[in-house]
């Protein structure tokens, strides 16, 4: 366990936050997509984070003092899609209904801000560790 672990730990977190930002971008892009079949319409996706101990990351740390992050999987929201009556829509089913995705744009925007903040914090941690290690290298000069 040393300062060098900061790079691995914060790096894994940056990777996880990037995946979170990607799903948010995908959700926002598909917020307005519709389909005539309720089972085929786009559903909001969210990553599930999990702490991963250093020994699992291949670092020789028996104490497991610090832990990085990994994305365990991406789950689809189970909120039912919104049903609207649009008989003129070419995608409408035989009753004239279309189903729009269950993406909550406000929730996604909040998610995006949170991911942005977390990413910035991780970058800051890496910069701090780098500055300190550079000072250690130049010790005595």
């Amino acid at each position: 366990m040393s300062l060098f672990d900061v790079f691995n730990v914060s790096g894994s977190a940056m990777n996880a936050e990037t995946i979170r930002l990607n799903t948010t971008a995908s959700n926002l892009a598909n917020a307005e997509s519709v389909n005539g079949d309720a089972t085929k319409v786009y559903r909001a996706r969210h990553p599930v984070f999990q702490a991963v101990m250093n020994s699992q990351m291949g670092l020789d740390d028996a104490a497991d003092a610090s832990s990085g992050v990994r994305v365990m999987g991406v789950v689809e929201s189970t909120t039912p899609p919104v049903q609207t009556y649009e008989p003129n829509n070419p995608l409408a089913d035989k009753d004239g209904y279309v189903y729009s995705s269950n993406v909550n744009s406000i929730e996604e925007m909040a998610n995006m801000i949170s991911a942005n903040r977390s990413f910035a914090t991780d970058v800051e941690a890496i910069n701090t560790a780098r500055d300190l290690l550079l000072k250690v290298i130049s010790m005595g000069h």
Partner: protein
């Protein structure tokens, strides 16, 4: 004469570096459900590594388990008591962690400065000018 020229700062650097890794882990897991924030009690670890704490038990058999704490390289990591735990079981509180991180940063640099000062003192003594 030269076995302890840097005094406490040699161990302090090690423990602060370790603490920084633990705090980086907390910052990294700020959005992980169920993650429990951890920290190192710097004063406790340092006093143990200085031998000020209780006398350690001697390990006279290979089956004896040596408690951590006497060795600064494997300091005790304890769970943090959150001011207000979140619903998903995560106990990382960003402002607390960021404050602790920058405090560790300053303390690390302070120890480095002391060591650097000691080195220049000794260089001055050696060179005599």
């Amino acid at each position: 004469m030269f076995d302890n020229i840097f005094g406490i700062h040699e161990q302090a650097l090690m423990v602060q570096g370790q603490r920084m890794g633990v705090l980086a882990g907390n910052l990294a897991n700020a959005d992980t459900p169920g993650y429990k924030a951890r920290d190192i009690d710097f004063a406790a670890v340092l006093s143990q590594s200085q031998g000020d704490g209780a006398l350690p038990l001697a390990a006279t058999d290979s089956a004896h388990i040596i408690l951590s704490g006497t060795d600064p390289a494997s300091a005790d990591v304890k769970y943090r008591n959150p001011y207000q735990a979140s619903l998903d079981g995560n106990t990382v509180e960003m402002p607390v962690e960021q404050a602790a991180f920058s405090e560790t940063n300053v303390r690390y640099q302070a120890s480095l400065n002391f060591i650097n000062g000691r080195i220049s003192e000794l260089t001055l003594a050696i060179n005599g000018s």
